[in-house]
């Protein structure tokens, strides 16, 4: 059961973060939104669904969601939710290596402190 929990937890975190990174890639493909009138926003949303990264992201996030539901069927929320605080560190690593973002030392320190803080809040 321990190995199964570890496998599902890893799926929740990795698929979830890869999904969000794909979403980020999709939005970067569309470019910065500079106007916020309703017509521009509707056009932006419609074009988002024509980018393949958007669909890859949605698919991966669905995998993460259903893995989380499965995991919660045998593990306690009080164990699962604090453990997923590691999401922030995994996401920052993915942003650095897959999206080429510059994660500075300050940002890393902030991310690690947030991870610890989220784990404390959820315990």
């Amino acid at each position: 059961m321990m190995a199964q929990t570890a496998l599902f937890l890893a799926t929740v975190v990795i698929a979830g973060q890869l999904g969000e990174l794909s979403l980020s890639q999709a939005m970067k493909t569309l470019g910065e939104v500079k106007r916020f009138d309703p017509a521009t926003l509707l056009r932006f949303i419609a074009s988002a669904f024509r980018v393949k990264w958007m669909w890859i992201g949605v698919g991966l996030m669905a995998v993460a969601f259903f893995s989380l539901l499965a995991l919660l069927s045998w593990e306690n929320v009080s164990m699962v939710v604090p453990a997923t605080a590691v999401n922030y560190a995994v996401g920052a690593m993915g942003a650095r290596f897959l999206l080429g973002e510059q994660v500075t030392k300050e940002r890393w320190i902030g991310v690690i402190i947030v991870c610890i803080g989220v784990a404390f809040v959820c315990v």
Binding site: E32, F44, A92, R107, A119
Partner: protein, 138 residues
Amino acid sequence: MAERKSRRGKTLTLLGLMVTFGSLGDVLLGRGMKQIGDPPSWAPGAALAFFVRAFGSGTIWLGIVLLLLFLVSYMLLLSWADFSYISPASAIGYALVALLGYFFLGEQVPATRWIGVGLICLGVFIVGGTHPNTTQNR
């Protein structure tokens, strides 16, 4: 310089909206589902009746609308800001929910949660001090 300042301003504004929409959406969805209660069983008929009841609730619809606004704000933010900036900064929502629970719902918040809230605020403050975009128009 002016563009950099205005981008930081719009990033923080949209981040505030995103966190508020997300937190309120979660709270309303949770409240709406509690009002409806557990389904008597998951047999097809009972499950259908449960979903019909859920989608007849104004609270749940308001929660869904707020969560959609959360998603749009998140997508807009990601169109220019780093994922490694937005993701940790959005954790401030945990602190917001704890504070709302304490001040508005009179919930008991244990000491460990306050420590967590303090750490999240510190972490978000540090991340917030970095530049929101490191991949384009630097």
